[in-house]
Symmetry: C2
Subunit: 622 residues, 2 copies
């Protein structure tokens, strides 16, 4: 079989067992990897109502059929488990080098079961795996852990995915970092790893991906190298990183500000990508085989000096610690980012819980007695930075916030729920649904809770109608509509982006993202060149649909209902400032749109349950 | 725009009006041509409950986006109208040269409206069209009409599609023939043409199809030329024509015999493709740009001498006039075929009504008094040939049979319905559903009534599982199953074959037909090379789905219900002989399968009505 190693690594930490399993090629072809393949295992192996932080939960690392080919965008991998944040399907993807390295090491999937009685790490190398003691790195930062592991195994090129204090302390939005800066950020999977006493997975391999048609891949790599600069958004990412989006989003009135009260930030110039480039950026970095190099390396200025090893803040991070908290210091944002990467915290959820606490404080739901003396007003830079540390270490208010806004607001009471913005328990990313309604559908309907990478963003779609025609959408759709034509657009783009999560491809290199260089049909060519299959966009999209149905079934089994596919109240209230001032989501429109989406997915309109005809159609039910 | 001329020719025969209209490229892309584009017009322009033989019916000739490119399989066109046989969606496709010629003449679609007060023919040539007097050819055979028209316009290369006596006499299964042998056979569209006093449409053009990437098309033509001989079924078609199927079908126990009582014919050797080749075949012919040349030219032997101009019988024709009527003389079959082509009768329906009459006669439902003295037993060769002529001219019993088995059995009464095998009023083609259950679904669910070209036939599918994987089907399905896996297979193959009817491609050159040379993904390449679009199999299959939904809506509007999606009783009874003796369709299985198909199509499970979510999803409803 091309593309995959056909080796599944199954580790049971309770009994120190290591197994290698094979799969039928049909299973690989039906699920492709990443989200899809992980769900295949998760749904059949996890008992309903499993405690996400108990040993019965399983943590699955999965790469895709195309991961590790020498082509921009194929560096990624998914981590999947039952989420301690949502209590449902939890997933997070990351780029970097770890995913390709796992494939080079001879495996496609790692399934971690049970829990170790003492801290361990996993050392996976060239078709082999060992469970190793991690006592010496427990309680250490990701950087300390990485350095120690590289020293242990005597290889400085080992790729290490590890948790920090947050994962160890079961912070419900703890993440997993590889190379200190590429994060499987969302869903609290770092806490699942911590609950298993698993500090890190280190991988090293010397195989390369065997492709059916390597010349085709080489040709596409050459084409990409020659063409990506022709795409202005790709050039912008190369110049400013994702931070280049800060000013345009603000100008558009959709830069989340002060816990989503507003869509513009009056001091945006001080946290922009341009400001960052002019002050603290010292280098750029990228993922395996990608020339765009959209990651920044920064060196923050005193009093917020930072260590360049931890990379620099992305757009999401800048908005979460910047405008969302009304913080105007890019170095402070960089430091918060560093702390998140060192302690293993998701920057989006962390920024959100802090903004939530500030909102509570300003509305007198939290008092100074309850904030460990912090004057938690929007714009309090020191408090923002301090809270990151307190959350990771579960100190004082940080211990409450470490539960995420949903649980924290329930603990705080006094109407704090009003300021807790989340979907299914997951905090909201830095995209304002009132200014691009596709996000409203995406947040409400993403199987892992509020997520901004489950469908294209409306403005970028408006610029790329030609490029989504292979999906059968031939006309642009108003970005503020929630009508049937938007639901249709959303459905196909949701499937398309889910497909990218199954093959584990980067959403920045593919259309209809504004950085899209590869077109939709390139993916079909690439999968065929790798595997030797004669697949089609039709078949690949069915794979994506399988993953969405399996995720849906998983969530229903865990007790989710239609009521969980909804938005926080704030988005039904008007935006308070900027070009989109007054914009709000109509509850009635949203309800109709969600029900229409269910129908389009062949899910029951009242409960969202996949109909058996759909499962038969996808070959999921015999 | 590439591929199409963007010229719709609209002819109103009542007021002698000729118009040329343009379409938005989006309409072309959403419907592609043929069945799809014709339905786009038919559904929006035809009033519900229109009399199919009245002037309000519209007769639409449509070619597809790829028609006329210099590549095997792209010679075809569809004729569509409300059918006088089914009273619902009526369509028939034909190959040959007429379709390409229409494109070369500068048009994509001809919509014929109204009815002329006197016989006319239409002369379409190089971006121009004229309505001409046809008094001199009314009452003439297709050959006489063709010769007269060629003489009239002074061009021996004019392609003529015309009706014969049957169409003039409103025989409900009258067909339209081009070049005397390529038939738009089914649905009685020749009668619609006759009802409009339109004898023929003659076309001639000197343009060629403008393709975005002509080199690609040339390359594929070369590839096809080099590869088609490697496919044994294609070679067989080249050697024996479709008649090569007679012996294998008989050996398999699925050769319709004696009005579907049996699946084997004891004298099959005398009507086989081999027998035909050894006795009466004098040449082979083919369609535009196709090297396979699967059509035969025959010269029947006395007392059934034939004129080679009318071609030779296909598999369907041989079975319909041969085994179905228990006739064992290949020359007699060839003569029946010639009469059908001269008088413009569908050979399948004609054979079926004769077998029906024989079955009635043998069961004493018809007596010699009612058969004009014919001893209408199975195997009476002379009576079979005689009846063809009587039907075309509506003489004696022929006048009753000219109404089709459904209406004829109602007129005859006395339980004749038991011998009248049809779905939606259309007679059953020469494929035994009890031996390949995909046919049961195809017959029951085809929007134009019993049709054998709406989905692949199970045995051929079994041989080509690799080739249908682009449709997402990765495993073979038992040919006798009616379970969910068969419904899924049927759904995707039904869509795929409907797609071929939208682009107007030949079902013999594409997989999963056993003659398939082009693979499924070739079609995507070909459409892209012609149009310059960046389409996908996903988008193309949506087009097919649009056509099936529009056809469904058309039929529902005309009063069809779920009860019309069903099979004649005989198929629920055991086959009486041969290797499949005892095989029967289970009513319960069929009902479940049909309801599951509805659900898979997002049609209401109880009524078969397309749900609005499906129409929104396809962009058919805003």
């Amino acid at each position: 079989m091309y593309g995959f190693n056909n080796r599944v690594l199954r580790i049971n930490l309770t009994i120190n067992d290591i197994k290698v399993e094979e799969l039928d090629e049909k299973v690989y072809r039906e699920h492709l990897g990443g989200r899809g393949l992980a769900l295949y295992f998760l749904l059949r192996e996890l008992k309903p109502q499993t405690d996400p932080l108990g040993p019965e939960n399983k943590l699955i690392f999965a790469i895709g059929v195309t991961t590790g080919i020498p082509l921009a965008g194929f560096s990624r991998y998914s981590v999947v488990a039952k989420s301690p944040l949502t209590n449902g399907f939890g997933e997070a993807e990351a780029g970097g080098f770890w995913g390709p390295e796992l494939k080079f090491a001879g495996f496609d999937i790692i399934i971690v079961e049970g829990a170790s009685s003492k801290p361990v790490y996993l050392w996976v190398h060239d078709n082999d795996a060992e469970i190793r003691d991690a006592s010496h790195i427990w309680g250490k930062t990701t950087k300390e852990a990485q350095e120690a592991i590289r020293k242990d195994v005597g290889d400085p090129l080992v790729r290490v995915a590890s948790i920090g204090h947050a994962g160890e302390n079961l912070v419900r939005f703890a993440c997993i970092l590889n190379e200190l800066k590429f994060a499987n950020g969302r869903s609290g999977l770092g806490a699942v790893m911590g609950s298993k006493n698993l500090k890190a997975i280190a991988v090293r391999g010397h195989k390369r991906v065997e492709c059916k048609d390597p010349e085709k891949i080489k040709g596409l790599a050459k084409w990409f190298g020659q063409n990506w600069r022709k795409h202005p958004p790709a050039l912008s990412r190369n110049t400013y990183g994702t931070a280049g989006a800060v000013l345009p989003m603000n100008a558009d009135g959709i830069l989340p500000t002060r816990n989503f009260r507003e869509g513009t930030f009056e001091e945006v110039e001080r946290i922009s990508g341009e400001e960052m480039k002019n002050t603290i950026v010292i280098n750029s970095e990228g993922c395996f085989a990608c020339p765009i190099r959209c990651k920044r390396t920064v060196k923050g200025l005193e009093p917020y000096a930072t260590d360049p090893s931890y990379g620099g803040p992305e757009y999401e991070t800048i908005a979460a610690f910047g405008s969302l908290c009304a913080v105007n210091d890019i170095s402070a944002v960089a430091l918060a980012n560093q702390l998140c990467n060192a302690y293993g915290l998701d920057t989006i959820s962390t920024g959100c819980v802090i903004a939530f606490a500030m909102d509570c404080y300003e509305n007198e739901v939290l008092t100074k007695d309850e904030t460990d003396g912090l004057e938690l007003r929007f714009g309090n830079t020191n408090a923002m930075v301090k809270l990151v540390e307190m959350i990771a270490k579960r100190e004082g208010l940080g211990d409450i916030l470490a539960e995420g806004v949903k649980r924290a607001s329930e603990k705080i009471g006094k109407g704090a729920e009003r300021y807790a913005l989340h979907v299914k328990g997951k905090e909201i990313p830095m995209h304002e649904p009132r200014g691009k309604t596709g996000l409203a559908l995406q947040y409400a309907l993403s199987p892992s809770g509020a997520d901004h990478l489950q469908s294209a963003h409306d403005p970028s779609f408006e610029n790329s109608i030609e490029e989504i025609k292979p999906l059968g959408i031939l006309e642009t759709v108003n970005r503020l509509s929630l009508g049937p034509e938007k639901v249709r657009l959303f459905k196909y783009l949701h499937l398309w982006w889910s497909l990218l999560d199954c093959v584990c491809a980067c959403k920045f290199v593919f259309v209809p993202h504004p950085v899209g260089v590869f077109k939709i049909n390139h993916l079909v060519e690439i999968v065929n060149a790798v595997t030797g299959w004669d697949t089609s966009l039709l078949e690949l999209m069915m794979t994506a649909e399988r993953s969405l149905n399996l995720a849906r079934i998983f969530n229903l089994r865990e007790g989710f209902t239609k009521a969980d596919d909804w938005l926080p109240e704030r988005f039904f209230e008007p935006l308070r400032s900027g070009p989109k001032e007054g914009a709000k989501i109509s509850k009635d429109d949203l309800k109709k749109a969600i029900e229409l989406f269910y129908e389009m997915m062949k899910w029951d309109g009242k409960t969202g349950t996949p109909k058996s005809a759909k499962l038969h159609e996808l070959g999921l039910l015999q």
